[in-house]
Amino acid sequence: MTFLTIDKAVKQFGGLRAVDGVSLSLEAGEVLGLLGPNGSGKTTLLNLISGALPATSGRIALNGTVLTGRRPDQIARAGVARTFQLVRILPSLTLMENVMIPAVFGHRAHWGAAAETVARDALEAVGLGARAQGIAGDLLYLDQKRLELARALAAEPELLLLDEWLAGLNPTELQEGIELIRSLAGRGLGIIMVEHIMEAVRALCPRSAVMNSGRLIADGPTGDVLSDPAVIAAYLGEVEDA
């Protein structure tokens, strides 16, 4: 049984097919880079997996459980966690509470001391352990990103969706961020990361898939994919004959 199967997923917005018959599969523990120019449908595909948007047609399944047609909370309880392209923290709650939420309501459903342990571990993993009782709204941007990742981790997910989690970091922070994701990959969870920073993609993703205008145009080892003429054309536009 495949870990994650996406079979001919389609998302139609009026006349626009944002995701146009994408099929993709992922093995457990695999880290996949999802690439493509702006507006190619990467985030929409993540939204279809996490249930933020209902798919127009197609089928997505995790460990044999069909995700399509289910609500985001059901999908979260099936073991999918995500971060958002624009950071979404819960500003009025403490860091601890932010992170406890998926531990309490996620697919393991802890309460009390058990939930706190999971939350504390997740905060430690991203380096925010010392500030557990602070208010999330007071955090700086990078720490908000860390907090969002800790929240995804506290769900103890099997599949983690990262939507440009590394965007907007300075070079030092980027190195820290890459190390952090690498350590997660070592835990054996499947990761799909939408990312524009090629340095990070090369460092973290043995395999990449590229989307353009809603379609999957390449899927394979990251080095091969990035040198694929179709991919280069998608990023740079068609090269005219000289």
Partner: protein
């Protein structure tokens, strides 16, 4: 320990108060207990989720009307039970159809709901039963009404305190901050909102049922007075709607203030109501309790710096 002992001692004192008070004093206590119940139960749902409901009087009036219709047909405890059941059923119906609405649409819907219920009952009374007003003759003393309301207020606060420590309370706060995150963390939005809304509305309906014998004569225009909804909101906001004791701290002084104003300035007091509404939203959007906390932090800058 003191967090339980102190409120319990207060409750005992308040329960003994009718023995020492005049009829007027008792009347004030009844009003206060009623509004503390309304503001606290309103905050049970709206305080954390920030879904501002103006449907308070829809449920409050429904409770009163249930008593008016059934008080001669059923024994009193069954009348209360029926009121609670009708309130819960109405809340489920309304909740299922409206909790998908967000922000201002929810506010407007709940306001419209109160008007709809009032018009429906008026229509029913005029065309089906042929009478508009009803009398409530129950053998209940003011002190008994007071004790019931006091018990309901205590129950509401206890329920709120309990919820704060349960996943349900946490889920409501998450929903208030960001529903998308809530859903992606595994929270069943519809169920959480429905449970809290129904609990809140059932308590409000019971409060209306218990307080209704004070009116003696009941008609839709009296029991579905929208001012009740607005007062409830402003009381809860003044004290701090997302805190356990906030609604109580807002309800007691505001009730006394409006009692005073309506006696001394019967014609102009709605102006004060409006002015106060604006003042609360501008000056203390998070309530008195949060305001006090901020003030305390400002006075002790050293501890704050040490923390940061």
């Amino acid at each position: 320990m003191i967090r339980i002992a102190l409120p319990l001692a207060g409750l005992v004192l308040l329960a003994l108060a009718p023995l020492a008070l005049s009829d007027y004093g008792l009347g004030l206590l009844i009003g206060m207990a009623g509004y503390v119940t309304l503001a606290s139960s309103w905050a049970l749902f709206s305080g954390h989720t920030r879904y501002i409901s103006l449907a308070t009087v829809a449920f409050y009036g429904t409770g009163a009307y249930t008593v008016a219709v059934l008080n001669e047909a059923l024994p009193y405890p069954l009348v209360l039970l029926a009121a609670g059941g009708i309130g819960a059923a109405l809340a489920l119906l309304v909740g299922l159809s409206t909790l998908r609405l967000a922000g201002v649409y929810f506010v407007i819907f709940t306001f419209g709901l109160a008007e709809l219920v009032r018009q429906l009952i008026t229509w029913y009374e005029v065309t089906i039963t042929g009478t508009l007003g009803r009398y409530i003759f129950l053998d209940i003393t003011p002190a008994q009404i007071y004790w019931q309301l006091l018990a309901l207020a205590a129950l509401t606060l206890a329920l709120t305190a309990w919820m704060h420590r349960r996943p349900l309370g946490l889920a409501l706060r998450v929903i208030g901050d960001d529903e998308v995150v809530a859903a992606h963390a595994g929270i069943n939005l519809a169920r959480v909102k429905l449970v809290a809304f129904t609990l809140s509305a059932t308590i409000i309906t019971l409060a209306g049922a218990i307080a209704s014998p004070r009116w003696v004569y009941v008609e839709p225009a009296i029991v579905f007075n929208p001012t009740v909804s607005f007062l409830t909101v402003i009381m809860a906001l003044l004290g701090g709607a997302n805190r356990l004791w906030g609604p109580l701290l807002g309800a007691v002084p505001l009730f006394l203030l409006f009692e005073y104003l309506s006696v001394h300035f019967p014609d102009t007091y709605p102006i004060f109501l409006g002015a106060l509404f604006i003042a609360v939203v501008f000056v203390l959007p998070e309530g008195v309790l949060a305001g006090l906390e901020k003030l305390r932090l400002r006075r002790r800058p050293t501890t704050r710096e040490a923390k940061a």
